[in-house]
Subunit: 416 residues, 2 copies
Amino acid sequence: MNSIIPLLQQARKASISIRKLGDQQRRDVLLLLARAIEASEAQILDANQLDLDAMPDTDPKKDRLLLNADRIADLAGSIRQVAALEDPAGAVHLTRELQAGLELQKVSVPLGVVGVIYESRPNVTADVASLCLRSGNACVLKGGKEAVHSNTAIVDVIQQVLVEFGLPEAAVTLLPTPREHVQELLTATRYVDILIPRGSDSLIQFVRKNALVPTIETGAGVCHTYVAPGADIKKAAEIVVNAKVQRPSVCNALDTILVDRSAVDELLSAVSAPLQAHKVEIFADDIAFPILTELGYPYLQRATEEDFGREFLDLKCSVKVVSGVDEAFEHIETFSSRHSEAIITEDADLAERFLEEVDAAAVYVNASTRFTDGGEFGLGAEIGISTQKLHARGPFALEKLVTEKWVVRGNGHIRT
Amino acid sequence: MNSIIPLLQQARKASISIRKLGDQQRRDVLLLLARAIEASEAQILDANQLDLDAMPDTDPKKDRLLLNADRIADLAGSIRQVAALEDPAGAVHLTRELQAGLELQKVSVPLGVVGVIYESRPNVTADVASLCLRSGNACVLKGGKEAVHSNTAIVDVIQQVLVEFGLPEAAVTLLPTPREHVQELLTATRYVDILIPRGSDSLIQFVRKNALVPTIETGAGVCHTYVAPGADIKKAAEIVVNAKVQRPSVCNALDTILVDRSAVDELLSAVSAPLQAHKVEIFADDIAFPILTELGYPYLQRATEEDFGREFLDLKCSVKVVSGVDEAFEHIETFSSRHSEAIITEDADLAERFLEEVDAAAVYVNASTRFTDGGEFGLGAEIGISTQKLHARGPFALEKLVTEKWVVRGNGHIRT
């Protein structure tokens, strides 16, 4: 294939058919799709096996690529959940009479064509397709070549369902994998309304640098938990340990423990046993290092400058001891990726100051940053966590797959 | 100056002070600012004269650069209007208990630091500063070097008012004009939250290509008015003429008359006299050309391909005759810049189909596209008209100078 533009044009045309579907029809498409995914388990797993066979066992992406009966069931379940969510399109946000007989409305409408660029995980294919169909959008999917058989099998099932409903297959288009087509996608402003890169930091940076199509940045999470003076150390320890170990490979996991000098001894005493049990490697600053040495902490390193502002995505974290609240806030301002930030404190004024001043998509008092998630927030499946401030901040879920349109109905009105 | 980064850092720091201001304080700052602008009329006009003297009289930008007593009064009036608007920050969009004692809120908060890159018009300086201060944001302004004295004089007045309120001057920062600093601004993702280019298409395209900071595209307006079969020709003619001549230099002015074959004779007969009176040059397609020749229309050219999809910004328009509704919709889909599109029709079903299917920021039935404007829509002053779909579509006014923040208050909550 020389160009993907014809595919993008077809997707754009197909988006009109999807936009015109009624709410119940969209739900019906998804419910049938969930059944079809379950019924096609064998084909999808066969295709997945081809992808798995081609990937070395040592590749850390192998688990993300893997599908099995449970994960297929999860896929179908997730589609049913999306079907049950409320349609974000169609809402009338404002009605105003500009002059006698000249009526203005601001209405919520589907975006049109949503582009997603992603890597190994084939479940993204089904998640994105179902979110887009639910909200009246078409989508163009650029998956990784390591998942090409799995993605093709899933999109085949989706397209069969579309055809059964008399809808154009192009409403869910899987783009060819070769890298040379990425540039066409990134600059296809006439056909693609929004691009969401989902995957490694290098993928996201590449898209950000080269896209002309408006992009949502779903960036890295460099997340701090700040244990303030006078914090309840038991709460602090439970939250810190949970934020680090409950699922270390994700973006809302803790990266740096910020702890006030007045609380550091007590806090490190409280967390060292549970962190040790999970073999968490600690990169400690000059104050925390001797304390952890004293406690006999076995997985200990001296922190270097690079260990602050670093997203570990692993059973690793850094510890920074601060003198007072201002230093803590300044550290967060300097090193946060503005994803999720927490304070542990019993001081209500300080808590409110933290919530107001700290600039992040999600800010927490006395809770684990691990809650930043579309599902946990009650929004349903998400396409990613936005760390920028335009359009969507935090979980990018169904409710954000719309834009506005200004509709004006007159009767010969002119501007004077 | 070697780098503008220190200025951007100061603006970011200043944004916290502005964010913390109460609603009434923000209004008070603007009200004093309006008075200070009026009181400084002489200085501002002197500075403006320096800019005017340096610009050749033949430069078409000269009128945009010009300030006078009336325009200063307008500036102050516009600031007072912004002061009277409702603060978009602080709204709580959602409150949800995630678990017993774990409360989630989605709140509306200021963006932080708003960057605007613009050309000759010094009124943009005061408009943007007042919109940003009203909504709790700092701003960094990169004006054109042809307006440097005017902009400096206006920012001096603004900064004096900030100082009177004990606020940091850096909350409204005028950046140095040399071009080499633009790249720093476009990539300053840690300090600038949003960039809005306002001006020529080449400026906008440059920003779109090179910015890493999220950008709002305030693009060109290639606007069609489609006269459908059976349209009321009197209404059609009034609207077409108004959309073209009332203010031809702006983005919501008509560029192309699309007219059904069944209505073309009557329509052109009706519009030729008023368009001729305004010396509107018409680029007519092969069907319209002989009709206008027959009518003795004096300012007539044969349309070339380039005359469709062209933004004239002048007393010029093209005429395209279509056979049926589908061809009209297809023409708009191909050539529209998705800014403002109108249909003239007495057919209610066709009107609704147009409003639904045509993909543009503003869609009209039986009204002039000239209404697409923050002021006309009742939103107050605008920073520009967004022709993309993320965050803001159509007039980018005060209500869009905010983002969301997810606030979670717990009491030791962890994720299991």
